[in-house]
Subunit: 219 residues, 2 copies
């Protein structure tokens, strides 16, 4: 697992910076369900995903979750290193959704390198802008789209990620992604089943009419 | 109106970069209501607020507005220069809420300076992180707070900005800030009036019990 293979940016840095980042990076292999970062854990550092799938989410005061974005192979999580950007004033939780391999670059080392290296600072900018854009996309969905359309979009996204039309997922988990109550998810899923879009059984949701789901999601 | 007075960062740049930014900056004085940037206008550039008050907001597909953040003297708007950050993939509208004076730095000039200057690139990062944090704060309000609490918070914010407890604002305008329908605002305001928190008259909202409004907003 070569760091450089998952972090091409490294090749564009001066030798001194490159060596410092590579020396400080820690490789971790974690099972699904591992919380890699949360507000209480302070400054974890940059997370580079070598394999697997991470999920970043926030909590309501009552403990309700809502997914902000997901990270896949070669993605970089910057918000887990929020201490290095003074103006970043909110907390997220990052969890491995599948068994994952990540490189962790300590925030202090990265920050020091970026202070003198414009290329790295501009790269940081691009990463932050990507996450900001993803969050804005989710926010617009949340604000302007009804739950049936958002749920149709979520089911299609999951089917694409899992590579199949039968999802092994509980209503509770879906609710946590979408920031709503389990009861709401159950009600909307039943409506969808009545309309022939999906078939429900214990612990699974089968997509039976992806074309109409796509149409619903795009409305 | 010296640019450097409103953009202290300028003093930390090498002479060559400083001169380029200062030469390219355009000073504008605009009346309240002027749209300084929107999705259609392409890449306006960085906006530095010398005086006045700007509002950044997004639109729903049906044309409903929602305020993301406001900018005051010495604040910098980066999202109006989204073209210079490739990964920034969403549009906002920026409008002068009050008569304002702004410096506009063309995106191309700023981007070129940041490419070779780590200090400027790291500064850009801090600005983006501030806006990202403000947007996250609004999103959390939107997601987890009921309309009466959000409205109480908005009225207090306005009173602080206007320096007085009598606001000259229509229900329509309040709805545009909060991303809801005018009818909803009218209903919640009437409830508040019945509870003695505010007094309504044509085109004004008078805060009659700021203490209880503060308590409501903080719940």
């Amino acid at each position: 697992m070569e760091l450089a293979a998952f972090f091409p940016m490294l090749g564009e840095l001066p030798e001194a910076e490159r060596a410092k980042l590579a020396d400080a990076a820690v490789y971790r292999r974690v099972p699904a369900g591992t919380v890699l970062h949360d507000g209480a854990s302070g400054c974890t550092g940059l997370l580079l995903v070598a394999s697997g799938q991470l999920r970043a989410y926030i909590f309501s005061p009552e403990g309700r979750e809502i997914t902000l974005y997901r990270l896949f192979e070669r993605d970089v999580c910057l918000l887990s290193a929020s201490c290095m950007i003074q103006s970043l004033q909110f907390d997220i939780t990052v969890e491995a959704e599948k068994a994952s391999e990540v490189w962790v670059i300590p925030a202090k080392v990265y920050q020091k390198a970026a202070e003198s290296c414009a290329a790295l600072a501009n790269y940081t900018n691009q990463i932050m802008a990507s996450r900001f854009s993803e969050v804005m996309w989710r926010v617009e969905q949340l604000l302007w789209k009804s739950m049936d359309k958002r749920l149709a979009g979520f089911l299609l996204e999951e089917a694409a990620l899992e590579g199949g039309g039968t999802l092994h997922i509980t209503h509770e988990k879906i609710a946590n992604h979408l920031g709503t109550a389990r009861e709401v998810v159950t009600r909307v899923l039943r409506d969808m089943q009545n309309e022939g879009l999906i078939r429900l059984s214990r612990g699974t949701v089968e997509l039976t009419d992806e074309k109409r789901l796509r149409k619903l999601s795009a409305q």
